[in-house]
C-alpha cells in the first residue's frame, strides 16, 4: 500500500499532523522509535497519566495536556507503528510518474520499506552537545537524559545532583526533581549575568504569552524559596575525578570555585534534528539566534525537496505548543499539495495556524537571548569527538591544515565517522573550523551525512532483501 503520508515521530507535531490529515480522510502511517506516543516532552504520558498517578501531578499541567493529544491521536485512524526505527529515506527515481517516498524501517529485527506520497519529519530536537573538560566521565550526563529516566520509570538520580547550564529545561527539571523529593546540590547558571539588559528589548513581545513567563518565574522563585545554592555567570566548568566524577570546578566573575560532586547534569539548549534533511540534501540555513542549522521551509512547512515536510522542533526550537501549531500547518500544506484542499481553504487554514504559531512563539526571542549557546574557548585537551576520541587540539590542527570544508576535516580526522555520525561533534567541529579560518560559523556548513540514520545491524540489513523477495 502507498500511504498518502508517512509521518516520522509521534511527538506533539507528528500526532497533531496525523489527526489533522486523518480528519481530511487521508491515509497516514506514523513511525516512531518509542514504545508509546508522546515524543520527548510527553514521553510515557499515557502510562504516567493514569488516574491517581502522582508522577503526573508532579510533572505539571503542560505534561498532562499530552494525555489528551495522545488520546485523540490513538483514535484518529492513523496506522501507528511504535518501536519502529527509520534508518533511511529515499525518493523514487525522477522517472517515476507519481512522486513516492520510500521509508526504510526496522521493527522487531525486521527491515521493511514503507511507501508514501508525502513524508513529514516530526523528529524533534536533540540536546546541544557541549564539550568541556571531563564531560565524558561517568557521573556526567545531560538534563535531557535524566528527564527521560524520570518519565520512563519515575527514576531519580542517586544522591544530590548538580545542574549546570542555561535555558528553560534545566529549570523545569530542577523544579520537577524537587517536587518528587530529589536532592539538588546546586544550580550553576551559565547564562551571562546581564539578564535585564539583554532581555529587555524582547520583554514586551514575550508578554503576549505572560502565562509561560509567569511559569518560568515561578520555577525560579520556587528554587530560591527552597534555599537552593545557585551560582550565576558560571564559566569554565570542569568535571574532575579518577575513574568517575568526584568534583566539579567552575569560574564566576568572583573567582574559581570547587565542590564535591557525584552527579552532574548539563544542558545548553536544544538543536533541531537535521540529520535526515541533511542526508536528503535539503537546503538549510543557520540561525544566529539559536546557533544551529534548520531546514529551509516554505510557508507550508515543505523543504526544498518537493513532497518532504518538516514540523515541530525539527524545524527550529519553539517548544511543544508551537509544535502542535506547526503540525497543523504542515497538515494543511500536505493536504494542499495532494490536491484535497483548495487554495482558498488552505490559505484560510494557514492564517489560523500562523496566528496560533506566532502566539506560541511569543517568548522565544526572549528565551533565545537570555540563554545563548556557550561561546567560551574550548581548550585543546577537551575530547570533542567521543566516538573516535579526538581532542579539540587535534581538530584545530586539522582545520588549519587546509580548506574550511567540514568534509575535509572529517576525512582527515575521522571526526563524524563513528556511530553517532557527528551528532555529538558536528557543531563543535564546525565551530573550531570557523575559529581556525576566522570566518562566520554560518558559512562553514556541516559534513555530509552517510546512512543509516539509526542503528541497524548487518542481520537487519540482510532481512530487507528477504522482505522484498
Amino acid at each position: 500500500m502507498i500511504f498518502d503520508t508517512a509521518i516520522i515521530g509521534a511527538g506533539p507535531a507528528g500526532m497533531q499532523a496525523a489527526c489533522d490529515l486523518r480528519a481530511r480522510e487521508l491515509s497516514v502511517i506514523v513511525l516512531d522509535e518509542q514504545p508509546a506516543p508522546g515524543g520527548q516532552i510527553w514521553r510515557g504520558v499515557e502510562r504516567n497519566c493514569q488516574p491517581g498517578s502522582e508522577l503526573a501531578q508532579r510533572l505539571g499541567a503542560e505534561y498532562r495536556q499530552g494525555a489528551g493529544v495522545a488520546r485523540s491521536f490513538r483514535a484518529c485512524g492513523a496506522d501507528y507503528r511504535p518501536l519502529s526505527r527509520v534508518w533511511q529515506i529515499e525518493e523514487t527515481g525522477p522517472d517515476a510518474t507519481e512522486q513516492c517516498w520510500q521509508v526504510f524501517v526496522i521493527r522487531e529485527g525486521q527491515a521493511e520499506v514503507v511507501e508514501a506520497r508525502r513524508v513529514l519529519l516530526a523528529i524533534g530536537a536533540q540536546e546541544r552537545p557541549v564539550p568541556f573538560p571531563g564531560w565524558t566521565h561517568p557521573g556526567v550526563m545531560t538534563v535531557g537524559a535524566a528527564q527521560i529516566m524520570l518519565k520512563s520509570g519515575g527514576l531519580l538520580p542517586e544522591g544530590p545532583v548538580w545542574i549546570c547550564g542555561a535555558g528553560p529545561l534545566p529549570l523545569l527539571y530542577a523544579h520537577q526533581l524537587r517536587k518528587l523529593g530529589g536532592q539538588i546540590a546546586g544550580f550553576l547558571d551559565t547564562a551571562p549575568r546581564d539578564t535585564v539588559r539583554r532581555g529587555l528589548p524582547h520583554l514586551s513581545g514575550a508578554l503576549r504569552d505572560w502565562k509561560s513567563l509567569a511559569k518560568g518565574l515561578a520555577w525560579q522563585a520556587g528554587l530560591r524559596a527552597a534555599g537552593l545554592r545557585r551560582e550565576t555567570g558560571v564559566r569554565q566548568l570542569r568535571a574532575e575525578g579518577k575513574d568517575r566524577l568526584e568534583r566539579i570546578r567552575w569560574e564566576t566573575p568572583e573567582g574559581e570555585k570547587t565542590a564535591p560532586a557525584g552527579v552532574l547534569l548539563i544542558h545548553e539548549g536544544l538543536v533541531p534534528s537535521v540529520h535526515p534533511t541533511l542526508s536528503l540534501q535539503c537546503e538549510h540555513t543557520w540561525s544566529d539566534a539559536q546557533q544551529s542549522l534548520r531546514p529551509v521551509l516554505d510557508a507550508w512547512g515543505e523543504t526544498t525537496r518537493r513532497g518532504l515536510f518538516v514540523a515541530g522542533d525539527a524545524a527550529g526550537i519553539d517548544g511543544a505548543r508551537a509544535a502542535l501549531a506547526k503540525g497543523t500547518l504542515a497538515a494543511v500544506g500536505i493536504a494542499r499539495s495532494l490536491d484535497v484542499l483548495s487554495e482558498a481553504k488552505a490559505k484560510q487554514a494557514r492564517a489560523a495556524g500562523d496566528r496560533a504559531l506566532s502566539k506560541a512563539r511569543a517568548t522565544r526571542p526572549l528565551l533565545d537571548t537570555l540563554y545563548p549557546a556557550p561561546e567560551g574557548k574550548i581548550s585543546d585537551d577537551v575530547i570533542v569527538c567521543r566516538c573516535e576520541e579526538l581532542t579539540a587540539g587535534q581538530i584545530r590542527a586539522a582545520a588549519g591544515r587546509g580548506s574550511a570544508d567540514p568534509n575535509r576535516v572529517k576525512s582527515e580526522t575521522r571526526a563524524g565517522m563513528g556511530p553517532c555520525q557527528g551528532r555529538q561533534c558536528g557543531y563543535t567541529v564546525a565551530r573550531l573550523i570557523a575559529e581556525a579560518h576566522d570566518m562566520p560559523r554560518a558559512e562553514v556548513g556541516f559534513h555530509n551525512i552517510r546512512p543509516p540514520l539509526k542503528p541497524v545491524s548487518v542481520g537487519e540489513l540482510a532481512s530487507l532483501g528477504k522482505a522484498k523477495a
Binding site: F104, G402, S411, E412, P419, V458, L461, L464
Partner: protein, 375 residues
C-alpha cells in the same frame, strides 16, 4: 596567470598525489589541482585492499612492483600508511570456483608468477578460524593485505608538500587549451601553464580527456561499502570469494569493512553516488553464509564511491594519442588502490623522459577512443 611549472596534475586522489610526488622527486616543478580536497572521492571511499590476488594478468607487473613498494612504504612517503601484510584469501565455495582458481594458479605458474598458491580447507581454517567450515579451499597471497586509506592520503599529501608540490584545492579544472608546446589549464578562477599535464581525475577522467579533445569511452562504477562497529581483533586476512560479491576484512581499529563491488546509484547530478540498500542487502548473503556472527554487528556507516570503469576493467595509463603532452592515469575500475605507488612511478617516467620501461600496451587510451569529434 602562473608560469614556471613543468607538470600539472589534475586530480588530488592517490594516483594524482603519487604521480605528483614521484615527478617532483625527479626534479620537476609540479602543481596539483584538485576540484574538492585531496582524497575526496575514490581514494577516500576505498576499501584500501592491497591485493595482487586474482588481478588481471596485464596488471600483474605493476601490481607486483607495488606489492614490494607497499612492504616499504616508509621509504616512499615516510609512513607505513597503516599497511599490514595480513594476506588475502579468495575462497572457493563450489566446485566450479575451485576449478577456476586452480586453473588460474596454473596459468600464473606457467608464466613464471608464483605469488598465488592454493590452500586446502584445513589451512584455510587455520588462517581464518572465524569462518564457517564448508569452503573447498582458497587462493592465498601472504604478501597482500590492506592499508588505512585516510592515513595513506595524509602521508602522500605530506610527502608531496615536502617535495615542493604545489597543492591547490577547491580548484576544479574547467578548461584546457594547447598552444604549441604548452597547456593552459583553467581551474577555479586561476590559470596555470605547463608543457605536460596528467589526467588523474578519477571518475571525471573522461571529462578532462574531453576538455583536451580526446574522447574516450569510459563508464562509471559506484561501489558500495559498509563499516561495522568495533570488535576484538579476530580476522587476519582479507577474505573474498571467487565469483561472488564479497570483500570482508577487519581494520586495525577493529571495525569490519564489507564491500565486494555491489553497485550503488549515481545521483541525477552525475557528480555523486548514493547507497542502494536493496542491492546492498542482497549482497549480505555471501558474507553471512561465511560469517553468520556478523549479523549481530551494528552497521555504522554505508557509502558509495565513484570511480571510472572501462569495458575491459583495465585502467587508462599512458600518453594520449590525440592530445600531445597529456598523460592519462585513471579508469582503475575499482581496484586501483594497490597500484598507487607503481603507477606513480610510471607517470613520473613519462613526465620526465616521455618513456617508461613498463609495457603499457594493455592500458593504451587509444583502445577506448570514440570517433565522435569533440564538441
Amino acid at each position: 596567470m602562473r608560469a614556471g611549472a613543468d607538470l600539472i596534475v589534475i586530480g588530488g586522489g592517490l594516483h594524482g598525489l603519487s604521480a605528483a610526488l614521484q615527478s617532483a622527486r625527479r626534479g620537476l616543478r609540479v602543481v596539483l589541482l584538485e576540484g574538492a580536497f585531496t582524497g575526496r572521492h575514490a581514494s577516500g571511499a576505498t576499501a584500501a585492499g592491497v591485493r595482487s590476488l586474482a588481478r588481471a594478468v596485464e596488471e600483474l607487473p605493476l601490481s607486483l612492483e607495488a606489492q614490494a613498494q607497499w612492504e616499504d612504504m616508509t621509504a616512499l612517503v615516510g609512513d607505513d600508511c597503516g599497511f599490514h601484510a595480513v594476506g588475502q584469501v579468495q575462497v572457493a565455495m563450489d566446485a566450479e570456483a575451485k576449478a577456476r582458481i586452480k586453473a588460474r594458479i596454473a596459468r600464473l605458474k606457467a608464466a613464471g608468477m608464483h605469488h598465488e598458491s592454493w590452500i586446502d580447507p584445513d589451512r584455510l581454517a587455520e588462517l581464518v578460524p572465524v569462518m564457517q567450515p564448508g569452503a573447498l579451499g582458497a587462493a592465498y597471497v601472504a604478501l597482500d593485505g590492506s592499508a588505512d586509506p585516510h592515513r595513506t592520503i595524509r602521508a602522500f599529501r605530506a610527502a608531496c608538500l615536502e617535495a615542493d608540490v604545489e597543492i591547490l584545492e577547491n580548484r576544479p579544472v574547467t578548461w584546457l587549451g594547447r598552444e604549441e608546446t604548452h597547456w593552459t589549464v583553467v581551474a577555479g578562477g586561476t590559470s596555470h601553464v605547463a608543457p605536460t599535464i596528467v589526467n588523474a581525475a578519477g571518475a571525471w577522467g573522461r571529462q578532462i580527456a574531453r576538455l583536451a579533445g580526446d574522447l574516450l569511452n569510459v563508464g562509471i562504477k559506484n561501489s558500495m561499502m559498509i563499516v561495522t562497529e568495533r570488535c576484538e581483533p579476530c580476522l587476519g586476512p582479507v577474505v573474498s570469494a571467487q565469483n561472488r560479491k564479497l570483500s570482508f576484512k577487519q581494520t586495525a581499529d577493529g571495525t569490519f569493512l564489507i564491500g565486494g563491488g555491489v553497485q550503488g546509484r549515481l545521483r541525477p547530478d552525475g557528480d555523486s553516488a548514493s547507497v542502494d540498500f536493496g542491492a546492498l542487502s542482497g549482497a549480505m548473503s555471501t558474507t553471512l553464509a561465511l560469517f553468520p556472527w556478523v549479523a549481530d554487528l551494528r552497521l555504522v556507516r554505508a557509502w558509495a564511491g565513484m570511480e571510472a570503469a572501462t569495458a575491459d576493467l583495465l585502467p587508462v595509463i599512458g600518453p594520449s594519442a590525440r592530445a600531445p603532452g597529456l598523460i592519462h592515469a585513471f579508469g582503475f575500475s575499482g581496484h586501483g588502490f594497490q597500484l598507487v605507488p607503481s603507477v606513480g612511478r610510471v607517470i613520473a617516467d613519462l613526465a620526465e623522459t616521455g618513456r617508461t620501461r613498463t609495457d603499457l600496451s594493455a592500458f593504451d587510451p587509444g583502445r577506448l577512443a570514440t570517433n565522435r569529434k569533440a564538441a
